[in-house]
């Protein structure tokens, strides 16, 4: 009796497992280049936060090691997050979207319900004692994992082009995110990142181009609505269009950021010589850190940093191309689009190409929540990289990609 029950349970489980099983090949060595690039970016951020410590302490009246210390704690937490996501099997993640979404929903709810710091009146932070994080970071991660699983399932069921089954849920998710994150939390930056991430994932998953364009049009309309509905966003848009006209008021941060970048010149003022960090440029350690970097290291340094970012993105792109499985590929694409779009929105604002959004520069910016969830995402990519094939399939020949790679591997062995 007992035995029968157990067996039937086992069978049910295994059936579920089969239906959502990943078509990964054999595990092999992970992509350590990915980690090396991450480490370079992370150290650059640490050095910057360390170097502007005296300036920050003068501007914010804290000890000069305050930010560095907090950042080191965040990095320690990030390592934990990385270990978890890189070790817990992908199979589990594919099925874990429900608890993840619930956790993200709870975090968002808490952020909306809990009292806010009067300095930052938008309901973005969850504060539990001395521990605090931005709910949207949890949401980004959860939505990414959910969407990768959802889309891969639709591909498997050959319903990726089906409007009702595929497009509708995505649009509903987009609407909900837009309402909460852009509408209530007024966090257009994170909304932008999530929308870009979801659109990219849907695009790569094979949603028809027409529908992607449709979604883009809807989002565009929503964006126009969002901007024109709130006065402070209109002001930001004005500021973005004419930053130098409003240097003393709404355009202050944009102007100071450009001044920081511009004074960097060719080689920069040097690591210890930033002036703009001394209270001129708001959020010098967080959102504005790229401007401080550009002031210190100039054009050459800025291009080098962009190059490291590009190398890092290229690494992820290469992993995604070589992954035989839809879920893992979409996961990597999710992380890639998330981190790249967030980086470009951040840097674009600092160099006056995009409006200020108030989001961090991944790896470089000071800010605990950001670093921890970025590390978690990298952990997933790191695990995926173990399954990447050695070479990209030759698309033109239309051969079975998986068989090909397996054969070549076998031949080599």
């Amino acid at each position: 009796m007992m035995r029968t029950e157990m067996r039937s349970t086992h069978r049910t489980q295994s059936r579920v497992a089969v239906s959502s099983a990943l078509t990964l090949g054999r595990k092999h060595r992970s992509d350590y280049w990915l980690l090396i690039l991450c480490a370079i970016l992370l150290s650059t951020g640490l050095i910057l936060v360390y170097a502007i410590g005296p300036a920050l302490s003068a501007a914010h009246h804290v000890s000069s090691g305050f930010y560095l210390h907090k950042q080191l704690i965040a990095i320690a937490l990030s390592l934990v997050a990385f270990l978890i996501t890189s070790q817990v099997p992908l199979q589990w993640w594919k099925q874990a979207y429900k608890p993840l979404l619930i956790a993200a929903g709870l975090a968002t709810l808490l952020a909306l319900v809990l009292p806010v710091n009067p300095d930052y009146p938008a309901h973005r932070w969850v504060r539990l004692g001395s521990f605090s994080f931005q709910s949207v970071e949890v949401l980004k991660f959860a939505v990414m994992v959910w969407l990768a699983g959802f889309l891969s399932q639709r591909i498997k069921e050959s319903s990726i082009t089906d409007t009702n089954q595929t497009l509708k849920p995505i649009l509903i998710a987009l609407g909900a995110i837009g309402f909460v994150v852009a509408g209530i939390q007024s966090d257009l930056g994170s909304t932008g990142v999530m929308v870009a991430m979801m659109t990219t994932m849907a695009f790569v998953a094979g949603l028809p181009m027409k529908r992607i364009l449709l979604i883009t049009a809807i989002i565009g309309a929503g964006l126009v609505l969002a901007i024109s509905a709130t006065p402070y966003r209109r002001a930001r848009l004005q500021t973005y269009l004419h930053p130098e006209a409003n240097c003393q008021t709404t355009g202050y941060q944009a102007c100071q950021a450009l001044i920081a970048v511009g004074t960097g010149g060719i080689v920069g003022l040097g690591l210890g010589s930033s002036v703009q960090a001394y209270g001129y440029l708001p959020e010098a350690a967080n959102d504005s850190i790229f401007a401080i970097y550009a002031e210190k290291f100039g054009f050459i340094g800025s291009i080098l940093l962009l190059a490291v970012f590009v190398a890092f993105f290229a690494r992820m792109k290469s992993i995604a191309e070589r992954l035989p499985d839809d879920f893992s590929r979409l996961l990597v694409i999710g992380v890639l689009s998330w981190l790249s779009v967030q980086s470009l929105i951040n840097i674009g604002a600092m160099i006056g190409l995009l409006p200020l959004k108030g989001i961090t520069l991944p790896f470089i910016s000071y800010g605990g929540t950001s670093v921890v969830f970025v590390a978690a995402a990298i952990g997933l990519v790191f695990q995926c990289s173990q399954y990447a094939a050695y070479s990209v399939p030759r698309i033109a020949e239309g051969r079975n990609f998986r068989d090909n790679t397996l054969r070549s591997r076998a031949e080599r062995a």
Binding site: V204, T263, F299, A314, I351, F401
Partner: protein, 590 residues
């Protein structure tokens, strides 16, 4: 079918990943171009913009020199500096104005709502929240550590002797400029030259160490100055004047005590006066002026000794000359007469002219300058004495703000009764002068004929406390001849001896000479007031020689009698006694 799907979907995915990644690279490339534009092409533009924010220029204020004066054998500072602080806010950096306003109220008092209103201003980077904060208040503000809130040290003048010599000293206004008195006249020396600090600073204006754009220039500190004033003498002069104004119910009074041997002013005072530490509370701006140098009036009969000395000096009369005085002269159709008490026509001598204060006598002296009548020659001769010898109608150069020139009518015939005008000048009407001008003229008359520049600046004191004393400046030698000067002393002593002083002077030990004046006051529209007079007195006190010249003006006394005798003469008497009693005067040798 399934397999083909997978292949197709994978192939499509890779294609789409590459397309998307290509777009990403395009954006990154645009960023690269933009960085090139901002950091290399527009570098100069942003460098200038950065410096206009970051490079702040500060004046390092030079500390203003102290003012010292004599106190017996030593010197004492009478004007010092005190460092107080101005509290300012930069609304751009004050993110929580309500909180900041609430924080500063317990420290500096005032109204939080008012501060809030100031801190919420959007069109300014500098609002002054408080002035004259003490060192302690400044420290408390600094301890708040509010970005955008700062204090600025500012020096304020303090006056250990309170209002003593206020109008001689003047004050220093909020902008650090000396106004009136010594502060104005010697502003450049006292002020020094501010230093300059150009530095890259943090947002609160704190200079960042070691920047190649920093420039520092040390200030040149202001000089300490030493005045000729004697504080005790000044103190007593002020109190005598205040009493006199009270007892004679006058509008005001001025007095100058000057050493005729070098032109140094030992005391100079006016009533009413003010408190220089609260200069901003003064409503009547006239109070700021030192009337003794800035308010010329018609001086009245104290001119007669100077007229007499001029006539003697020209050799047209002698000290012992007698003449027939008709008790009235008709000049330009106007009758010049004397006061009733002087009696009618008769033979008079020069001593009578001064002692009885004969207007007709002074007019007769002018006629002698014109060989018996008032004419161009007489006018020119007398004009030359008034302006070129006695320095009337021109500034003396005393170190005071707003020194007045006074007025001497030009001698040229103006077809408007110039001879009458000139007859009037011989007894101190139709011309104006200040107490300091009269004191300088008297000094030259009694000291053997040397016109010293009347001065109140004795010298400067360098950083080590060493005095650098200026040499008295001689404006003119031979104002009158030594012989004339010697003749004038007994003539003026005679006037004092024949007038009533209470107590009387000890003529065995001291020489005291002088002359009263009861001056008519010109109406603004022409003519003179019938019932208002100024009382004046000019005289000297000494032992073997004249050691102090004292000039007293009393403005419109109302205690009855002739203003000169009833109001000004007692002040002279008290001051002369004060100088004798306090041993300022060396008695005669034997």
């Amino acid at each position: 079918m399934q397999n083909t799907n997978i292949v197709n979907s994978t192939a499509q995915a890779v294609k789409r990943v590459r397309l998307w990644y290509g777009l990403l690279l395009v954006v990154v490339a645009i960023f690269g171009v933009r960085l090139f534009y901002v950091q290399i092409i527009r570098y100069d533009h942003y460098k200038v913009a950065a410096l206009s924010d970051q490079l702040k220029q500060y004046e390092i204020p030079a500390s203003r020199g102290n003012i010292q004066a004599h106190n017996g054998a030593s010197t004492l500072p009478i004007v010092l500096n005190q460092q107080l602080f101005t509290l300012y806010g930069d609304p751009v950096y004050i993110k929580k104005p309500q909180e900041v306003a609430d924080k500063i109220v317990p420290i500096i008092g005032g109204n939080a709502a008012q501060y809030l209103k100031q801190l919420k201003q959007k069109d300014t980077r500098y609002v002054i929240l408080g002035k004259k904060l003490t060192n302690e208040q400044q420290k408390k503000i600094a301890a708040l550590k509010v970005p955008g809130l700062g204090t600025q040290a500012q020096n304020y003048r303090t006056y250990p002797q309170n209002s003593l010599a206020a109008q001689v000293l003047g004050f220093v206004n909020d902008e650090g400029a000396g106004k009136y008195g010594i502060e104005q006249a010697l502003n450049a020396e006292l002020k020094g030259k501010p230093g300059l600090l150009k530095a890259i600073t943090d947002v609160n204006g704190v200079p960042l160490a070691a920047s190649k754009d920093n420039i520092q220039q040390a200030p040149v500190e202001g000089k300490d100055v030493l005045l000729t004033l004697d504080l005790a003498m000044q103190q007593q002069t002020e109190s005598v004047l205040a009493d006199a104004v009270k007892s004679t119910r006058a509008s005001g009074a001025s007095a100058v005590i000057l050493d005729p041997r070098d032109g140094s002013i030992k005391a100079m005072a006016n009533v009413p006066t003010y408190d220089p530490s609260k200069y901003f509370n003064v409503e009547d701006g006239k109070l700021f002026g030192n009337a003794a140098v800035s308010e010329p009036i018609e001086i009245g009969s104290i001119m007669k000794p100077l007229t007499t000395a001029a006539a003697i000096d020209q050799g047209v009369i002698a000290p012992s000359t007698s003449y027939y005085d008709p008790a009235s002269w008709l000049v330009d159709g106007f009758r010049i007469t004397n006061i009733e008490e002087d009696g009618g026509a008769g033979t008079r001598n020069i001593a009578d002219v001064l002692n009885l204060s004969l207007n007709t006598g002074a007019t007769w002296e002018l006629m002698q300058m014109g060989s018996g009548k008032i004419n161009a020659k007489a006018r020119e001769a007398w004009h030359s004495y008034m302006v070129d010898h006695y320095y009337f109608g021109r500034t003396t150069g005393v170190e005071q703000g707003f020194e007045a020139e006074g007025y001497v009518p030009p001698p040229a015939d103006n077809d408007a009764g110039i001879n009458l005008t000139y007859a009037n000048t011989t007894f101190g009407q139709a011309m104006t002068a200040t107490p300091v001008q009269v004191a300088a003229a008297y000094a030259s008359m009694v000291n053997g004929g040397t016109m010293y520049k009347p001065h109140i600046l004795e010298g400067t004191i360098d950083g080590a406390g060493k005095k650098i004393v200026n040499k008295p400046k001689v404006l003119k030698q031979g104002v009158v001849s030594p012989k004339t000067s010697a003749a004038m002393l007994p003539l003026m002593q005679n006037v004092v001896a024949k007038h009533h002083f209470n107590p009387d002077f000890d003529y065995t030990a001291y020489t005291v000479g002088g002359k009263t004046g009861t001056a008519q006051i010109a109406k603004p529209g022409g003519g003179y007031y019938a019932d208002k007079f100024n009382g004046t007195y000019a005289g000297f006190v000494g032992g073997d020689e004249a050691q102090y010249v004292i000039v007293v003006f009393v403005d419109k006394p109302t205690n009855g009698g002739y203003a000169g005798t009833a109001a000004a003469q007692p002040v002279f008497g008290k001051l002369a006694h004060m100088l004798i009693n306090d041993s300022y005067v060396m008695p005669k040798k034997q």
